[in-house]
């Protein structure tokens, strides 16, 4: 109930254009309708949960739906900067939307805290002092998958991803750490739902394992078809296809699959335990990776607000860089290009009662940074 009141207050304030607000004004642009809305809803809920728990009264959040359309996101950013006069932007789920919004927002002196997307241009040559990524650089989980494949003793892997920049980054990231040979490399059509042709090639390739990056519905389709095909090579993938939201739609087909993630609900620390319990209590479902990222983003912001004024950009930036908050992932620090340094775990899909979920079985990479630090001149 309390959360709802804050949301209400946030939207009422947005309508009233209260320019004399003392505190920090945050603009959240995220995907709340259409395909992929589940991710944005989780980020929003995680973020607002942290704000509600803080009891802070000098923060105002304007939330808008980008419909997963870059042009809508750009216009919302324009509106929030021009009319709502926000200090900080956050919330974008997709790399292509981030690429559309972030460069111009930071160029206009606003801070951007990314709760999900981490495209490589923003980590490398396009990095910016006001841009902070609280989730991961896009390559991170794939790199951990590569490292894990080495640890698991795989020497001949078949890799596949959709034919778009994040997919190309995924395979690049995997190959950066994987030391074995490639039995095959396939780019599929974005949004493809039938993988029979690819599975046939996997079967014929003589591989000993498969790495795949197929987010959302693509992953569901692939996993179900793979399980039914009789090809029983071990699968490895990043967490995106094994998240709380979609695991239930995959069902048994996902059981036992190894996936890499910087968070899981069983990470043993007080902040995480409290987060999982309170999220379930507030929303009646298990938190997802995205919810944890939204939660961390809000807590990072709150930690910086506690020690610096947002109008003093240098001080506020330094406070953000310190990352002095209790991350639900445990240890968390920023690399010099403002992307996380964190552990990345290997999880296994299990069934708890009737619910499919993950448990941590190993650590893929410890205190892992990203490959673009050197390219960033910051």
């Amino acid at each position: 109930m309390k959360l709802k009141t804050i949301l209400m207050a946030a939207s009422v304030a947005a309508l009233a254009h209260t320019a004399q607000a003392e505190g920090v004004k945050v603009g959240m642009i995220t995907t709340l309708s259409g395909g992929g809305a589940g991710l944005g809803i989780d980020v929003r809920d995680g973020f607002m949960l942290a704000i509600a728990q803080s009891g802070s009264t000098d923060i105002e959040v304007v939330i808008e739906d980008d419909q997963r359309k870059p042009d809508v996101a750009v216009q919302l950013a324009d509106r929030m900067i021009q009319s709502d006069k926000v200090d900080i932007l956050t919330g974008i789920i997709w790399s292509n939307l981030a690429m559309a919004v972030v460069p111009s927002a930071t160029a206009q002196g606003k801070f951007y805290l990314s709760p999900n997307a981490g495209p490589s241009p923003l980590a490398g040559a396009g990095c910016h002092p006001n841009y902070f990524n609280v989730a991961w650089q896009n390559d991170n989980l794939h790199e951990a998958a590569g490292a894990y494949s080495n640890d698991a003793g795989y020497s001949n892997t078949f890799i596949l991803a959709p034919n778009y920049p994040a997919g190309q980054d995924a395979l690049t990231g995997f190959k950066r750490f994987f030391e074995g040979a490639l039995a095959g490399e396939i780019y599929t059509k974005l949004g493809q739902t039938d993988y029979a042709a690819e599975i046939a090639q996997i079967r014929a390739s003589g591989a000993d394992s498969v790495f795949f990056f197929l987010p959302g519905g693509m992953g569901i389709s692939f996993l179900k078809q793979y399980a039914d095909s009789g090809v029983d090579l071990p699968l490895v993938g990043p967490a995106f296809s094994f998240d709380q939201g979609i695991l239930q739609a995959v069902g048994d087909a996902a059981l036992g699959v190894m996936n890499t993630s910087q968070w899981n609900k069983d990470i043993d620390n007080a902040a995480n335990a409290a987060f999982v319990t309170s999220f379930q209590a507030e929303y009646g479902r298990l938190p997802s990776l995205y919810a944890s990222q939204g939660f961390d983003t809000a807590n990072l912001l709150l930690s910086a607000m506690a020690v610096a004024d947002v109008n003093d950009a240098d001080a506020f930036r330094a406070a953000l860089e310190a990352a002095n908050f209790d991350s639900v992932r445990g240890d968390f620090a920023f690399a010099s290009n403002h992307h996380p340094i964190q552990d990345i775990y290997v999880r296994e899909v299990i069934k708890e009662g009737d619910v499919y979920t993950n448990r941590i079985v190993a650590t893929g990479l410890t205190d892992h940074s990203n490959a673009y630090v050197a390219e960033c001149s910051m």
Binding site: A37, N163, A200, S221, Q225
Partner: protein
């Protein structure tokens, strides 16, 4: 590139084609008899899949789920016909396109409203799960073979329905001369509702069959719808036979293109650029096929002038 792989890919192409046929047959039938274009056909596919997933979730029975997809999609189709399409028969195609575009918006967001944003679960029945071994040592999922079988049975059933039954005779009459069926003493409005419901049921059935091996989610219907359009254009509007041939052509072109084109470019390019050029081109292959058919036969392979 082994023989086994080629056989398996060909089967994949046929299975994909059969699924497209179920969609395209309804579209082409509805167009042939009533002369309307129905963009919401993809929504009916989605409705079938959601109905099946909901019933399978509640009862655990795949057969009941399939039955539900048929019934729910048919009812949805009949409702669309009675409330919306009926008013559009005398209108131009633009009105039909826009009204059914509006229906897509309503159905997609309405489904999300009712079922939430996350995909639903629908699984292959145990009896059909796993692969079987075919001649030459080809391993192939039994469920996909079953889809091929079911699709061909439906195709035969449709041919029989059109050529052997009283309803089929009325449908054929309606296709050739809309005024004539009135003269035959047929109740046109009942016939139209029936045909629409039949097309809808086929789409919903396809959605349920495919939902079991893919993801049951909002927006699943539109990519298939556009492919079904390509099929109908290639086969010729109003022709069930054209829909079957077109669907198999599209299914095979798409599947084999995806698998052969990157290897083809790999012969004289470095692997990563061969991969991306091949993938780019294969995503366009069916449209190129369509353009080629149009160049020689503007009304499709089996379309009447």
């Amino acid at each position: 590139m082994s023989l086994i792989l080629i056989i398996e890919q060909t089967l994949n192409g046929i299975q994909f084609g059969v699924m497209l046929f179920l969609m395209a047959a309804g579209l082409t039938l509805i167009f042939g008899v009533m002369g309307v274009i129905n963009l919401a056909h993809g929504s009916l596919y989605m409705i079938g899949a959601f109905a099946a997933a909901a019933v399978a979730g509640a009862t655990g029975s795949f057969l009941l789920a399939l039955a539900a997809s048929l019934v729910v999609a048919a009812i949805a189709g009949a409702l669309i016909e009675l409330t919306v399409m009926r008013r559009l028969y005398d209108r131009d195609h633009l009105d039909q396109v826009l009204a059914t575009f509006a229906l897509i918006l309503i159905f997609s967001e309405g489904t999300r409203w009712a079922f939430g944003s996350f995909p639903l679960f629908l699984d292959i029945p145990d009896a059909l799960s796993g692969p079987i071994t075919l001649p030459f040592g080809v391993q192939y999922p039994l469920y996909r073979l079953a889809i091929i079988g079911i699709g061909l049975v439906v195709a035969l059933g449709l041919f029989a329905l059109i050529s052997r039954t009283r309803i089929g005779m009325q449908i054929r009459a309606g296709e050739s001369d809309r005024e004539m069926i009135g003269a035959l003493g047929v109740n046109i409005s009942v016939l139209y509702t029936l045909v629409f419901a039949l097309g809808a049921a086929l789409a919903g059935f396809a959605g349920a069959l495919i939902g079991a091996i893919q993801s049951v989610q909002v927006g699943m219907g539109e990519p298939v719808l556009i492919l079904a359009f390509v099929v109908v254009v290639i086969g010729g509007i109003g022709s069930i036979k054209g829909a079957l041939v077109g669907a198999l052509l599209v299914g095979l072109t798409d599947t084999l293109g995806r698998f052969l084109l990157p290897s083809f470019f790999g012969l004289f390019m470095e692997p990563s650029s061969a991969m991306s050029v091949g993938s780019s081109l294969s995503s366009m292959s069916i449209y190129i096929l369509m353009a080629a058919v149009l160049l020689f036969k503007p009304t499709g392979l089996y379309g009447s002038a």
